[in-house]
C-alpha cells in the first residue's frame, strides 16, 4: 500500500525531508538507503525481528483499559503500554530492528545519540545482545540529569561520550554522533528518532510501526473496531508518535494528537514547542520545522524532560502538522508533573516525564461518552524519580 504519508524517492514528505548531508556522509547514507527496505521486507529479517520483539522485548505490549482514568475524563481511555517493554520504553523497537540491519550490512561498531538516555540504553542493550561495540553520545547536561541511565549504559558495556558543544543536550549529542560518523565511515549510526537525513526518518518509522500494528488488533478484540476515535502521543523528535500513528495515517476518521513540551510556557522563551515556535529549515540533515533565530541559528530548546527538548521535529511530523492531519498541542513542565502524579495515583503507573506530556492534555480535551482514546504510554518513569521526588512537595 502506497500512502501519501510515505516519502518520495528523494526522501521527501511534501516539502519536508531530504538528505542535506555533507559529501563526507554520502556513501554512508547511500549504503543504508540502497538496502534498508529490502532488508526490512525480507522474510529472514521479519522472523528475527518478530522473534526478538516477542521473546526479548516482551511484545505485544498490552493495551490496557484505564478504568479510573476513563471515569475521571468520561471517555474510554486505553493505554498502549510501551513502558512495559524491556529497557522501559518504545525505543527498543527501533534498536532491535536497526541492529539487525547493521549486522546484515556487516557493521561491528555502533554509535548512537541520546537525550533522556532511553535510546542510549536501548542501543547499549542490543549491542550487548549482539556482542557489538557501542559508543553513545550524550549531552553533558543530560548526563547530569539522567544519571541512572548513564550507569545502565556503562554496565551494558557502552562507552558514553559527553557532548560539550552548544547547549550540551540532545541536539549537540546528535551533532557529535554525526561528526564521529564522518570520521569513522565504517561505523553504523543507530539513530534514535524519526529525524536525520533520509532514509533514517522512514526507517525508524517503519520499525516503530509495530505499535500501531498491534493497536489495530488489540482494539478490535477489546472494542470490536480496529480504529479508535483519538490517539495521543508526545513528540520530541517524534518516534513514539510516528509508531502510534503509522497504520492510522490513512484512516482519516482517527483523530491524531501530538503533544510537544511547552517548557515554562510556549511564549516564555523556555520551551520546546517546535510546531508553534519553529520555521522551515534544516537540522541534522533534514528539511523540517525547527526553532531558529532570524539568521537561521538554531535556538536552544527547553523542557523539564530530556527526551523532548529537541529544537526540531521529524520531517514526517512537519508534514503531518502542515497538512493538519495531526493536531499539535503542548503541555508545560508543571502540567506534565501534575499528569504524572495523576496517572500514578489513579492507575498505579509511574510514566516517564516525556509520556506525562501526552497525559497532560486530557484535561484540555472534551470527550463524548463513547469516545475511544488511546494514549501511547511511551516509557516508564524510573529514570525520572529524582525529578518527581523533588516536586512531590509542590
Amino acid at each position: 500500500m502506497k500512502s501519501k504519508y510515505q516519502p518520495n524517492k528523494d526522501g521527501y514528505f511534501g516539502q519536508f525531508g531530504g538528505a542535506f548531508i555533507p559529501e563526507l556522509l554520502y556513501p554512508n547514507v547511500k549504503e543504508i538507503e540502497d538496502n534498508y527496505i529490502q532488508i526490512i521486507e525480507s522474510e529472514e529479517f521479519q522472523n528475527e525481528y518478530k522473534n526478538l520483539l516477542k521473546d526479548y522485548v516482551g511484545r505485544p505490549s498490552p493495551l490496557y483499559y484505564a478504568k479510573r482514568l476513563s471515569e475521571k475524563y468520561q471517555a474510554h481511555i486505553y493505554l498502549k503500554r510501551e513502558d512495559l517493554n524491556h529497557t522501559g520504553a518504545h525505543k527498543v523497537n527501533n534498536t532491535i530492528g536497526q541492529i539487525l540491519i547493521a549486522k546484515k550490512l556487516g557493521k561491528t561498531q555502533i554509535i548512537a545519540e541520546t537525550g533522556a538516555g532511553q535510546h542510549g540504553v536501548a542501543t547499549a542493550t542490543v549491542c550487548a545482545l549482539m556482542g557489538l561495540d557501542c559508543t553513545v553520545f550524550m549531552g553533558e547536561k543530560d548526563i547530569e540529569r539522567q544519571a541512572p541511565n548513564v550507569a545502565r549504559m556503562k554496565m551494558l558495556g557502552a562507552k558514553v561520550v559527553a557532548a560539550t558543544s552548544g547547549s550540551k543536550t540532545l541536539k549537540d549529542a546528535t551533532n557529535e554522533a554525526i561528526r564521529y560518523w564522518i570520521q569513522n565511515p565504517h561505523t553504523f549510526y543507530l539513530i534514535g528518532s524519526v529525524v536525520g537525513p533520509h532514509p533514517h526518518p522512514d526507517m525508524v518509522a517503519r520499525l516503530q510501526a509495530v505499535i500501531s500494528e498491534e493497536m489495530k488488533w488489540q482494539l478490535k478484540e477489546k472494542t470490536g473496531k480496529e480504529n479508535p476515535d483519538t490517539i495521543i502521543a508526545c513528540v520530541g523528535g517524534g518516534s513514539n508518535a510516528a509508531g502510534a500513528f503509522y497504520h492510522y495515517l490513512d484512516d482519516e476518521d482517527v483523530g491524531l494528537i501530538a503533544v510537544e513540551a511547552a517548557g515554562l510556557g510556549v511564549k516564555s522563551g523556555k520551551s520546546a514547542a517546535t510546531s508553534q515556535l519553529g520555521e522551515v529549515g534544516i537540522i541534522h540533515g533534514s528539511k523540517t520545522i525547527l526553532m531558529q533565530d532570524k539568521y537561521g541559528q538554531i535556538v536552544e530548546p527547553y523542557s523539564i524532560s530530556a527526551g523532548l527538548d529537541y529544537p526540531g521535529v521529524g520531517p514526517l511530523h512537519a508534514f503531518l502538522h502542515e497538512t493538519k492531519r495531526v493536531q499539535f498541542m503542548s503541555a508545560t513542565d508543571r502540567e506534565a508533573l501534575v499528569a504524572a502524579y495523576e496517572l500514578t495515583k489513579t492507575e498505579g503507573i509511574i510514566p516517564a516525564l516525556e509520556t506525562a506530556h501526552a497525559l497532560a492534555i486530557l484535561p484540555k480535551l472534551s470527550f463524548s461518552k463513547d469516545q475511544v482514546v488511546v494514549i501511547n504510554l511511551s516509557g516508564r518513569g524510573d529514570k525520572d524519580l529524582e525529578t518527581y521526588i523533588k516536586h512531590l512537595e509542590d
Partner: protein, 255 residues
C-alpha cells in the same frame, strides 16, 4: 569568468587559501584579517559565516563560530563588513556557510548581497548534489555565483566526473574522511587518493583542504593539487598571536 578560476588559470601551483571565521576573535576583525592576509599574499580567502551547528567542522571552527556569534556577528553584519572593502580588496573571497543560513535569510536576498560584495563563489558543505541540481543550480546561475563541491576519499568516480562538470571555480578535495581541523601528517593512503584523483585529469582545478596545518603538509598537498586551504591552524594562530602577526604565519607556510 569566476574570480577563483581566473586566479587558478594565472597561477596553477602552490596556491594558498586561508579560511577564517568572520567576527572572530573580535567582531570587527573581519576586515583587518582580510587586509593582512591580502598584504601577506594569501592567494584567496575563505570567509566562514559562523553557524550554531556546523556539522562538518571540528572543535576549532566550532568554538570560533560560537565566540563570533557571542560577539554579535550575523549575516547582515558580515555583508556590511565585506562591502566596506569591496573597492580596495583585490584578493578573491569565497563565502563558506551552512544551507540553513541561506534559507532563513532568504535565498535571493543572500545571493544578491553576495554579489553586491563583489563575491562570486560559495561553499555550502551541507548542500547535496541532488538539491543543487533540483534548485540551487538555477538560482546561483541567475546571480553568477559558483558553488564549490567537495570530494572525499570515498566519493565514487562517477560522482567526481559529475562534480567536475558542475564546477565553475574549483573542486574542494577533502584530504581524508574527517571533519575540519583533524590532525597529523599526510599518510600513504591519502597520497594514493591524491594521485588517483590527479590521474583522472579533471577539467577543474583542485584545492586540498581539511588537516592542512603547516609548511610541510601544505607543500606536500601542493604536489598533488593546485593548492591547499588552511583553516583551523590559522584560527588557532590568530587566537594566540592576534591579527598583526598574520604576515609571520603566511611567511612560515610559504617559506
Amino acid at each position: 569568468m569566476n574570480s577563483i578560476k581566473e586566479l587558478l588559470e594565472k597561477k596553477a601551483a602552490n596556491v594558498l587559501s586561508i579560511y577564517f571565521t568572520a567576527g572572530f576573535p573580535q567582531l570587527n576583525d573581519t576586515v583587518p584579517i582580510i587586509q593582512e592576509l591580502s598584504k601577506s599574499s594569501a592567494d584567496f580567502i575563505e570567509v566562514g559565516l559562523p553557524y550554531s551547528d556546523p556539522l562538518a567542522d571540528g572543535t576549532t571552527v566550532q568554538n570560533s563560530s560560537q565566540q563570533a556569534l557571542q560577539n554579535g556577528i550575523n549575516l547582515d553584519v558580515v555583508f556590511d563588513q565585506l562591502i566596506e572593502i569591496k573597492e580596495t580588496n583585490s584578493t578573491p573571497l569565497v563565502l563558506m556557510g551552512y544551507l540553513n543560513q541561506l534559507i532563513k535569510y532568504g535565498e535571493e536576498k543572500f545571493c544578491q548581497r553576495v554579489v553586491d560584495c563583489g563575491i562570486d563563489t560559495v561553499i555550502i558543505p551541507d548542500l547535496p548534489m541532488v538539491e543543487y541540481e533540483n534548485h540551487y543550480q538555477a538560482l546561483f546561475a541567475k546571480y553568477g555565483i559558483s558553488n564549490v563541491f567537495l570530494i572525499t576519499p570515498l566519493t565514487s568516480e562517477e560522482r567526481i566526473r559529475k562534480i567536475d562538470a558542475y564546477s565553475k571555480s574549483f573542486i574542494y578535495m577533502v584530504a581524508s574522511s574527517s571533519i575540519t581541523g583533524a590532525k597529523g601528517e599526510i599518510s600513504q593512503d591519502q597520497i594514493d587518493y591524491f594521485e588517483r584523483i590527479k590521474s583522472m585529469n579533471l577539467q577543474s582545478k583542485l584545492i586540498i583542504g581539511f588537516g592542512i596545518s603547516n609548511h610541510t603538509t601544505f607543500s606536500k598537498a601542493c604536489k598533488y593539487a593546485n593548492g591547499a586551504i588552511i583553516g583551523s591552524a590559522f584560527i588557532k594562530f590568530l587566537e594566540k598571536n592576534g591579527v598583526q602577526a598574520i604576515p609571520g604565519f603566511i611567511k612560515e607556510i610559504k617559506q
